[in-house]
Point group: C2
């Protein structure tokens, strides 16, 4: 019979942990002195404790281990749990590898530029979205505005108010200075709007993953933001799978000064 301290040395499990395992009924001492409360263990309990340690090392939770060691499971069930565990570990490994890539990307940015990056990229989901929209080819990026005018005029006729910020979708495969193929879209929720002229009502595609960058400032030069976003996408092993969007969260219509305008740029992406 060992007292808890000796048993702790033998098994190399902290005393606190042994008491905790007693409390949750995972490894009970062979004998407890009713008068003093002292726990006494025997060497015969080591195999059970070692089973617990081994299963813990495989990454199982203590309540799962509880079932294993108390024999409530067949070999098939155990096999199933192990397969599941294997899948989880593989997923963890993928996550951690992606995280490592992100850390290394940021490290490169800092060592190259000598300063913190100016924008942040996050991966989010894009929900489907009902919009009123006009698509057309405009002369350049500055002349997208009138398209929004068309859409808003149409909504005005139906007395429908937008339910979210306006956005632009860019369909060109590569960067173009002129003749930009763009769609101006305004979310309208479930409101009834009859299509008319160039304005149509449709549902924007949803995406499992979009790489998103949010920037603050006037609409003078989006190039650095686009460059950071593209570089992030490439470094992190994603590829672009759809037209990018610009979402004008705070724009000229807000009445705030241009420095306070906030725009989100999104690229639908998938792991490549």
């Amino acid at each position: 019979m060992f007292r808890i301290g000796e048993f702790s040395k033998l098994s190399q499990v902290p005393v606190k942990t042994l008491r905790y395992y007693d409390e949750i009924g995972l490894v009970r001492p062979a004998f407890v002195d009713a008068a003093t409360g002292y726990r006494y263990y025997t060497a015969e309990q080591l195999p059970r404790l070692n089973t617990v340690l081994a299963l813990k090392d495989l990454g199982f939770k203590l309540d799962q281990i509880h079932e294993f060691v108390d024999d409530h499971l067949t070999a098939e069930q155990m096999e199933g749990m192990l397969r599941l565990r294997r899948a989880e570990i593989r997923a963890n490994l993928q996550d951690e590898e992606a995280r490592l890539v992100r850390v290394e990307h940021r490290l490169r940015l800092i060592t190259q530029e000598g300063q913190m990056p100016k924008h942040e990229v996050v991966i989010k989901k894009a929900a489907p979205l009902r919009v009123a929209a006009v698509r057309g080819v405009v002369e350049n990026y500055q002349t997208v505005g009138p398209l929004f005018g068309e859409v808003m005029a149409e909504l005005g006729k139906h007395a429908v108010a937008p339910v979210g910020p306006p956005m632009a979708l860019y369909y060109d495969e590569e960067y173009k200075e002129k003749d930009v193929d763009v769609e101006a879209a305004v979310p309208i929720g479930t409101a009834e709007v009859a299509p008319s002229g160039r304005v149509q009502v449709r549902e924007l595609e949803s995406y499992e993953a979009v790489a998103s960058l949010t920037r603050r400032g006037p609409y003078d030069d989006f190039t650095p933001a686009y460059q950071e976003l593209m570089s992030w996408i490439q470094s992190n092993g994603y590829r672009i799978v759809g037209p990018n969007r610009e979402i004008y969260l705070t724009g000229p219509e807000s009445g705030s000064p241009p420095e306070a305008w906030v725009t989100e740029i999104q690229f639908p992406v998938a792991k490549s």
Copy 2:
């Protein structure tokens, strides 16, 4: 100005999380209605929130992120944190890969044998240990006993009691049926014992890692236990770096029946 629900949709951060970030001062709403307690956010807060999300994605804790976003850190400090983080992630990856190997090893055991493994292997440390010991070549495994007799007789002369279970160290590189090179050792703590005859007093080497298997039962056949242990060591990418030990936690001297005897087998190992 967005209410918390809209801001949650924009940022894809749960409302509960936004309230928590407010509470810990990480992302405070732009305005709080003093009468109702309603939180109001602006689009201008999205970049800060996105920074938080991006750093969280790198695996930083919220209090570290707190320092980052409140500009208490220079680019060099940030770089240092990132290098540290990279090292941690690499360590995690190694751990998880080792875990995956262990899970796969156990999965092989189950599918091959159709049942749960009978013994468990755990990695532990071996502390240095002062012992009285006799080393010699004996005829076979059954004839180790008399060596312990020699040691115990010597201890008796000095009226010294063992401070732990007796153990045997096996020095043969490979398995031998006959002429086994073995050392019988008994821990004596700090007691003074003059070496005499074949009995010497020495300190057993400590090891950073030993693969340990604990079995219950009589001393009739250790072969399956040794096989499981060797197979585990090989499957998990370890190699043996010293003589193995058998530790007789409960043995004949305990007076218990042979089925209750408990023996631990240890191989010093290192990752190869």
